[in-house]
Symmetry: C2
Subunit: 315 residues, 2 copies
């Protein structure tokens, strides 16, 4: 085995790939063309667009965080996969709507035509709406957890993470920072404002992913707090790495157009701290993620490797 | 008191107005500008657009159905108002997205500029997303019901009513019937296909409204079935009345452009049955609604009047 293969066989990458395969299979079953017994119909074009935007791609890093934080607390894998699938539906809906002409106007996503390019704008709007709604459908099912109190806690946390005080709100702050709604052009946000924007726009869902493990396990306050600290650090690291990729990355590798943030005047931590400052922050965040999980000892090794992966990824 | 005033003082209209006032006040409080204690921020422009699209208008007929079906089963009003507010968020999100240029491209709604006209398209997309998400936030709160099992049942039923097998799916069928995705122009759908389309597009949310009363009350199968039969009849009546209004109504009264369905080649029951046939069906549906609630006796008088109101409304 050469060194490239050895790297591919890292325990972390094996776990990430296993989560991706299981998530793909589960979403494929959940988003079947055939209606559930209490549904009149699942219109073909809509379910096709929902499948197109949620199957066949993505690292499934959010489901990975759900499943591995749940595994740390001995939650059965099937339950964590359901919560991960719900979260992935929210993530995919946000990509479909963000790509729309009135939003970021992107033609490529994961190297493929975006949903409104492949289908049409109306179908893309409805596919996003359908995926967002479907996330709550998934969370409400007993397969996610037999205890209704656990399921409703997941619903509450996901609604908060995705809503006006979370991802949707962060997206609005991002458009405002671009200068969409004023004559004065892009705003140059300071570090603390960029931090709030990013904690909402990307951080909230990643943080939810880590909280979900604690919710599914009915964990105590200390364990929940540890996972939340880890999730917050990973969320920040994820976004900074994304901004660096946009600056330095290769369109072919990244699978979407790069260099767009700077062109659009997007508010990024690279803009606020400079490139070197952003890279230094990344290193600190990985250390913070590691320290947060110290109480779990060796069992948290995979999640810690996940934090490093996020910081060092090239695509 | 003259006869016009007497009509205004009907018990039904008084109840409808009371629900509208209470729903307005509750949504106003829930959609406060100030973030909840676990939210980082509620971006002003987004919350403004969410408030614009959900406050200050509408008959609040869906919340009325929730509250009156709940009252029939002795559910505390505050709980029913929460469920009604959640449902109204879903209804309002659907209007915002349906009005978008890529969808029905409407400039007027309730006599006011639509959200994308008043704000802009990106804000309208996010406001719709925010309202849809917020509905599940509301349902997940203990104020909606102290029992988590009841709350999760509401989440499940609303997700089904709004999703790919419900409202979003119905909207997709409607666009397809317009001939959006083919070269061959509008499809002329037969009665049964129009019935499925409308049961999903408008019927599902109205039906959920009536189911919600039974869920909140933890009612037995017979009562739930009665409310569901009533809800299905009212849902069909509502859509047929809407189609007749589009045909005959006055833009100033209806508060949105009329005559658009025929122009767009929309699939309607008026198209399938003819105008006289559609009016006859309306009468049958009111009788069906009445018969469904017969077991409740006099206590159901307001809901029965509600079904008549739906069938006879002029705006």
């Amino acid at each position: 085995m050469n060194s490239e293969n050895a790297k591919k066989e890292s325990p972390f990458l094996k776990r990430l790939e296993a989560v991706a395969a299981d998530t793909e299979a589960l979403l494929g079953r959940l988003l079947a063309a055939k209606p559930e017994k209490d549904e009149l119909s699942r219109p073909g074009r809509l379910i096709d667009a929902m499948r197109y935007s949620s199957l066949g791609g993505g690292k499934r890093f959010r489901p990975f965080l759900v499943i591995e934080s749940a595994r740390l607390l001995k939650v059965p894998r099937q339950r964590a996969l359901m919560a991960g699938a719900a979260l992935e539906c929210v993530h995919c809906y946000s990509l479909v709507h963000d790509d729309l002409p009135a939003m970021d106007n992107d033609a490529l996503r994961r190297g493929q035509p975006t949903v409104h390019k492949k289908f049409d704008e109306a179908t893309a709007i409805l596919a996003g709406d359908g995926l967002l709604t479907f996330a709550f459908d998934i969370l409400s099912r007993p397969r996610t957890h037999p205890d209704a109190a656990v399921r409703i806690e997941l619903v509450h946390a996901l609604a908060r993470a995705a809503g006006v005080g979370g991802m949707a709100g962060g997206q609005m702050l991002d458009l405002a920072a671009e200068g969409r709604f004023t004559q004065s052009g892009p705003q140059r946000l300071g570090e603390s404002k960029v931090a709030v924007l990013q904690a909402m726009k990307t951080g909230a869902l990643l943080r939810f992913a880590c909280q979900a493990g604690g919710i599914l396990a009915g964990a105590g306050a200390a364990q929940r707090k540890a996972l939340d600290r880890y999730g917050a650090a990973v969320g920040q690291a994820f976004q900074i790495a994304d901004d660096l990729l946009d600056l330095e990355g290769d369109t072919a590798l990244v699978g979407k157009q790069t260099g767009k943030d700077a062109a659009a005047g997007k508010a990024t931590m690279v803009g606020a701290l400079g490139e070197a400052g952003a890279k230094m922050r990344l290193t600190q965040l990985v250390a913070e993620a590691e320290s947060a999980l110290a109480p779990f000892g060796r069992a948290a090794a995979i999640l810690i490797e996940g934090a490093r992966f996020v910081a060092e990824r090239h695509a």
